[in-house]
Amino acid sequence: MNSLLRTIPFTWKNLVRRPLRTGLTVAGIAVATFLFSFVESMRDGVVKATEAGAAETRLVVYRKNRFCPFASQLPQSYQRSILNIEGVKAAVPIKIVVNNCRASLDVVTFRGVPDEGYLQEHVTQAQLRSGSVSDWLSRGDAVLVGSALAERRRLRAGDRFDAAGVRSWVAGVFDSDDAQDRNVAYAHLGFLQETAQRGGTGGIVTQFNVEVDDPSKMEAVASAIDEAFAHDQFPTTTRPESAFVARAARDVIVLVRFASIVGWASLAAVFALIANAIALAVRDRIRDHAILQTLGWTGADIAWMVVMEAAMLGAAGGAIGAIGAHAAIAFAHLNFTMEGVSIEVTASNMATVAGVVLATLLGAVAGIVPALSAARREIVQGFRTA
């Protein structure tokens, strides 16, 4: 161990006193790791939004064979029938208005919810960053805006807000653990229906969010709801919320899977970059290594120095790239919305740690072959080669 520690200062000096070589290598690694961590954060967002948890209790009732809030129209009166189905704890009619139905990075989604109950449950006073629920209740055109949407559109309590043909007033901004909530503006159901009435859809909602009293009953309740309206004028398709998001986001999921391949390929680039840099460094330092061995340093010491230098390059580039990706994601507030459903790209700690750890490990592995070649070279041969 002592033998390994004594090589650290020399390795460090080799890195910092060759700033151009170190800088260029670290920059290359940082770019590749940035890409990897960014893509992994995107994939993380998709997984979080679409993976069903064991405790999932929310179903989304949507109009059958419709794939956009504009096209999904259900009578609000369905609420009573849904509430009568065994296992249903709550059913909230929601009107969704979006300014763009296709996949986009800046979609504004309005959810119209009843005045009582839903918002009081979803937005507690502790979650409010500004404004209040009572302000929302006191004005018909008031909206409570999720934090991610507010940051994207730079909205604050008291601002006027105009999107998707809806003119509203921001009563407050709230935080939530749920990406769907963070990316919508909650309006009064009646207000949104009234706004949409110009198209003759008063009393019509987009979907029902149904809370089931037991996660094990999800499938049975979904089937019961769809059966209840199967022969109605407005048949329904009911899915767990995660499955609903996954269906809506299927194009994005495919794209993110493809991007994930690019992310892993960028790690291969990290490996190649470090291997190349270290191979060149070892070639340049054949004489230095021969000198050190003449002074009494062993081949193992030399090998360890080379591996450690490669790992340090990987760690430095990995840290800059991964932390840069983390900061960029946190700053950019990226959010994919399609068909009114949001997938938020949040800065993933796991992706950041993975970026740093993988770049460090790849660096160490990339250094092994040059390290062995440096360690095995005979001293005299080293002086002759140099």
Binding site: R6, F10, K13, N14, R17, R18, R287, D288, A290, I291, L292, Q293, T294, L295, G296, W297, T298, G299, A300, E378, I379, V380
Partner: protein
């Protein structure tokens, strides 16, 4: 003090099909505390013999016993440890590590010894003072003249207080004044510290500063006794 005994020492190199006999059955004894100059034309095997004594190369045949120890029996790691404890090597082209300062270059061999940071500092400072470069400790090799670089290399070679100092044409790349300074230093180390010095040189006047001259030609020691006597007579004035 190390007594060196080489017996039937041979070193062959292979160049394609051709075998080059660089050293052929060399027998030599070097007494501890002596200062020996190895002389001879290019390709005579001087540097090869020096490298074998430093254990940075292995003989094809024969034995080298230094301080009673047959170094041919040691493995790579044991040889490295032996070099670290016993040998100081001075190169013709100085061979300082370019990213390290003079101080750090001198400190490098000490990192292999069980010394505290304070002890290392004392030893490095002492070595740099001895070679007259205490004020250049923070300079990088590129900021030093050739003579200064060689003196840093000497400081690096002596900082571990080795019993054996091996010098490969230490003045070969220096101007006259710097060469004189370096030779004065080596003679002083030999006399004051009783360190055994084996030095390769082409230059008769440099060789004359040594206590004994060994002449090599085509891998063999030529008339050593006779040459030695003549060389000692020639060098007696300069050595004193």
């Amino acid at each position: 003090m190390s007594t060196i005994e080489c017996r039937k020492l041979r070193k062959d190199y292979r160049r394609g099909e051709e075998v080059i006999h660089t050293l052929q059955d060399v027998d030599i004894d070097i007494h501890g505390g002596s200062f020996v100059a190895l002389m001879g034309p290019s390709g005579s095997g001087k540097t090869t013999l020096l490298n074998l004594l430093a254990a940075i190369d292995r003989p094809t045949a024969g034995t080298i016993t230094i301080g009673g120890r047959d170094i041919g029996t040691l493995g790579r790691n044991a040889l490295a440890a032996w070099r670290s404890a016993n040998v100081g090597y001075i190169f013709q082209l100085y061979n300082l590590v370019p990213v390290l300062t003079a101080y750090e270059n001198v400190e490098m061999p000490l990192l292999l010894h069980a010394l505290s940071a304070k002890e290392r500092h004392q030893r490095v400072t002492e070595a740099l003072e001895l070679v007259g470069l205490a004020d250049r400790y923070s300079h990088y090799p590129r900021q030093l003249s050739g003579g200064q670089e060689q003196r840093v290399a000497i400081a690096r070679a002596i900082v571990t207080r080795p019993t054996l100092i091996l010098a490969d044409e230490p003045t070969g790349d220096l101007d006259r004044t710097s060469a004189m300074q370096v030779m004065d230093l080596l003679v002083r180390l030999n006399k004051e510290r009783n360190q055994t010095i084996v030095m390769v040189t082409h230059d008769p006047s440099t060789a004359a500063r040594a206590g004994r001259i060994v002449h090599l030609e085509k891998g063999k020691i030529i008339d050593a006794a006779e040459f030695e006597r003549a060389a000692q007579i020639a060098a007696s004035g300069a050595h004193r």
